[in-house]
């Protein structure tokens, strides 16, 4: 695509920029020369692999859930049991959450364009937010069902079926939690190997090109390591979803067991459901805090901005740092912008290089914009 061509041209043809410059402006009528860091990162090999892996896992889960759901719908219809069909609806919400995560992973790999100059990674965070909201909604529905069970004292509430269905749901969620959690640690090791190989390859190809810009732009590949330290936020969201479901299924299972054994103790069932729903919702709070922080352009949680500012001041030639803003596009992808007042006589090029290296090495920030002012 045109965008890619321009990006690849940049480091090699810097000297030739002068003459084609007037004619280039005609070419650029529709296309805006853009952030190479954001577009090129999408093509990082290991990141693509990670994405494919996540996509594969999520799609297999969705398929599994759909199969179980259709079995439940048919079975519930035949046995004329409302409870089974309700659980099918519950599974549908699970599938919706997984689909949202899957869609987010696919979309976030799109390239940046002039309207979305930061790329689409932020969409992951919004999708995770949607997942969490779904969890809250489902909890509300479960509590509502529990109250309905309480109110329909006159009618028979079949504790056996309730227990059976929720036990089944519990096991399915348990499988998912274990699989998602287990695969992540495996993946981490693979990721390291990929990075080492990739870095070697690139360093060999680009040995001739001395421009540090080039080296800098290649190194963002290394930066993806930080994003896999925590799970991709969508996998995190799916994991949380499964975890919350598991806790709630456990609660309903216990409630069903109680009703099965002692059909009169319906109030206990309600209390049990409430307690477990509270647990499940409390489990979503850390993720919500993280999501809100990212959406509010907050400084990343593990970063102390005063320390960063002090570190910047220690760079040769930097007198004052002001208008410092640090925020995340998504977990692990950090952006920084600042204005620097240099010491008299300092070279701005060196200051810029120093700042960029500092940010990259100490904090893993690859998208840095520095404005150097002077007296």
């Amino acid at each position: 695509m045109e965008l890619e061509q321009i990006c690849i041209l940049k480091p090699d043809d810097e000297e030739e920029m002068e003459s084609p410059s007037p004619s280039k402006t005609e070419e650029n009528l529709g296309v805006v020369p853009l952030s190479c860091a954001f577009t090129r990162q999408e093509h990082c090999v290991s990141e693509t692999k990670e994405r494919e892996e996540s996509t594969r896992r999520l799609s297999s889960f969705i398929l599994l859930y759909l199969i179980v759901m259709s079995v439940q719908i048919v079975g519930g219809f035949k046995a004329n049991s409302l409870a089974v069909m309700t659980d099918a609806a519950h599974l549908l919400s699970d599938v919706a959450g997984l689909c949202v995560s899957l869609l987010a992973i696919k979309v976030s790999s799109w390239e940046a364009n002039p309207r979305n100059s930061f790329g689409f990674k932020r969409l992951e965070v919004l999708a995770a937010f949607l997942s969490v909201q779904l969890i809250w909604l489902v909890s509300g529905v479960i509590i509502h069902e529990a109250i309905q069970r309480l109110l329909s004292r006159s009618r028979e509430v079949n504790g056996e079926i309730m227990f059976g269905i929720s036990a089944f749901g519990f096991f399915m969620n348990l499988v998912m939690v274990l699989w998602l959690g287990h695969n992540h640690s495996h993946h981490h090791h693979d990721h390291h190997h990929h990075h080492h190989n990739h870095k070697h390859q690139h360093q060999y190809h680009h040995k001739e090109v001395v421009a540090e810009e080039e080296e800098e732009e290649m190194n963002p590949l290394k930066g993806e390591k930080s994003s896999s330290k925590e799970m991709n936020i969508n996998i995190q969201g799916a994991y949380l979803h499964a975890m919350a479901d598991m806790i709630q299924s456990l609660g309903v299972m216990i409630g069903g067991g109680i009703i099965w054994v002692k059909p009169k103790w319906v109030l206990v069932d309600l209390i049990c459901t409430l307690v477990f729903s509270a647990f499940a919702l409390a489990a979503t709070l850390p993720m919500l805090k993280n999501i809100f922080g990212i959406l509010m352009e907050r400084v990343p949680r593990d970063m102390d901005i005063e320390k960063l500012e002090r570190g910047l001041k220690r760079i040769d030639g930097v007198k004052i740092v002001y208008d410092l803003h640090v925020w995340e596009i998504t977990v692990g992808r950090i952006v920084l912008s600042c204005h620097i007042l240099p010491e008299p006589g300092a070279s701005p090029k060196e200051i810029i290089t120093g700042v960029r290296n500092f940010c990259r090495k100490s904090y893993g920030i690859y998208h840095v914009t520095v404005q150097v002012e002077s007296e």
């Binding site: 920029m17 007037p22 805006v32 952030s35 190479c36 919004l126 509590i143 109110l151 919500l288 914009t369």
Partner: protein, 393 residues
């Protein structure tokens, strides 16, 4: 020799660390300058952009004419000290209660109205819930649940309004105003969920074909309708589907207004359905619920897209992309500039656009006029914070 040229757009006599000009709306004059500069003819840009400069909310309303001091950096941030960073989510109950009193004392009119609305809703839903549980009527309980969810969201909006007045601190370098956009998005999301659940309910009614008349629900629906109409009256300036958002609060108030409108449409739909059922119209419930669901969805979509766009850091919608590319062409066409890289523009809150830009320039030239030029070009577009990195070759 490379010399760095300074360019301080805020004037050399100002202290560089003046945070208030980052986020506060002491930039009121800038906004006027923005709209004024578009009244002059700017060539091909004029038709697309003067439309954006026309005031959309033409009726003079007290809420819009609020003096700018209310919004920003002054002593209104009574409850939390200057250096204290309130972690959103780590607030204790005592803090919340204190905050509620703070809202009552120092909030602006819209906040007080919202508080009243929330109080009414809470009262109403607790009454409904208790009556429902004690008399065993499931319909009342579900309605109460729905109301409670709505109340929770309105409380979050109120919290956002209150918190967004705080100054930027070491954790939130752009300040807290973006919380209003976030709460507007949450509201919009909830309304989408509501529309979806109404569609599911319609489907349910279609399949199950319950002809059970729930007469007691009509009383609840009427009361609900009245409370929500009161809310619509409070926020009547925002009772439109498409609004040009010029400040952060616009989005929040708009979302609250849409919330109460959607609720009142839902209650009206229920009343209509019961009436039609009593007239003997078949499938009245399905029709009404389906209609309400579609209406709510269409009402919410513009707000959802707009807030989503701000949260995704998309290019500002009030700046046409042709204007942006024209600016880039203008800059690239200057002989000193070799290339423009990484031109990114986004909105922190509607009305406050931030940009960052990298220029590749030939070394040894005088940069001050170039920087001044770039700043002017973007200032005309309304970009208030610009970080410009010049790379020498």
């Amino acid at each position: 020799m490379e010399r760095s040229i300074s360019f301080n757009p805020r004037g050399d006599n100002e202290l560089p660390n003046d945070r208030s000009s980052d986020v506060g709306y002491a930039a009121n004059d800038r906004r006027l300058a923005y709209s004024r500069s578009f009244q002059q003819s700017h060539g091909p840009r004029t038709p697309a952009v003067t439309e954006a400069a026309k005031p959309f909310l033409d009726r003079t309303v007290s809420s819009i004419d609020m003096p700018p001091e209310i919004y920003s950096v002054d002593g209104n941030d009574v409850f939390y000290g200057d250096g204290k960073d309130v972690e959103i989510g780590k607030v204790s109950v005592l803090d919340m209660v204190w905050e509620i009193f703070g809202v009552l004392r120092s909030g602006n009119r819209q906040m007080k109205r919202l508080f009243l609305l929330i109080a009414l809703n809470v009262l109403y839903s607790t009454t409904e819930l208790s009556i429902g549980i004690f008399t065993g009527r499931v319909g009342l309980v579900s309605d109460a649940f729905h109301l409670t969810f709505g109340c929770g969201l309105l409380t979050f909006s109120l919290f956002a309004m209150a918190t967004s007045r705080k100054k930027p601190d070491h954790a939130y370098s752009y300040g807290y105003k973006r919380l209003e956009v976030l709460s507007a998005f949450t509201n919009a999301l909830f309304l989408m969920f509501m529309s979806f659940s109404l569609a599911v309910e319609a489907l349910h009614a279609f399949i199950q074909d319950e002809s059970e008349h729930k007469h007691y629900l009509i009383v609840s629906a009427v009361t609900n309708l009245l409370v929500n109409l009161l809310g619509v009256w409070f926020f009547r300036n925002y009772a439109r589907v498409n609004i040009a958002y010029r400040k952060a609060e616009d989005m929040n108030y708009h979302s609250v207004c849409l919330h109460v409108i959607a609720d009142s449409i839902r209650s009206a739909g229920l009343i209509l359905a019961s009436w039609l059922l009593s007239l003997g119209v078949e499938n009245a419930e399905v029709l009404c619920l389906g209609l309400v669901s579609v209406t709510v969805f269409m009402l919410v979509m513009p707000l959802f897209k707009a807030t989503g766009g701000v949260l995704l850091q998309m290019a500002p919608p009030n700046i046409p992309s042709s204007a942006l590319s024209k600016c880039l062409r203008q800059i690239t066409s200057r002989e000193d500039v070799m290339e423009v890289l990484q031109a990114r523009f986004w909105e922190v809150v509607p009305g406050h656009t931030v940009g960052s830009l990298r220029l590749q320039v030939k070394s040894g030239i005088d940069e001050r006029p170039l920087l001044q030029y770039v700043y002017d070009v973007y200032h005309d577009l309304g970009v208030q914070d610009l970080t410009l990195q010049t790379d020498y070759t």
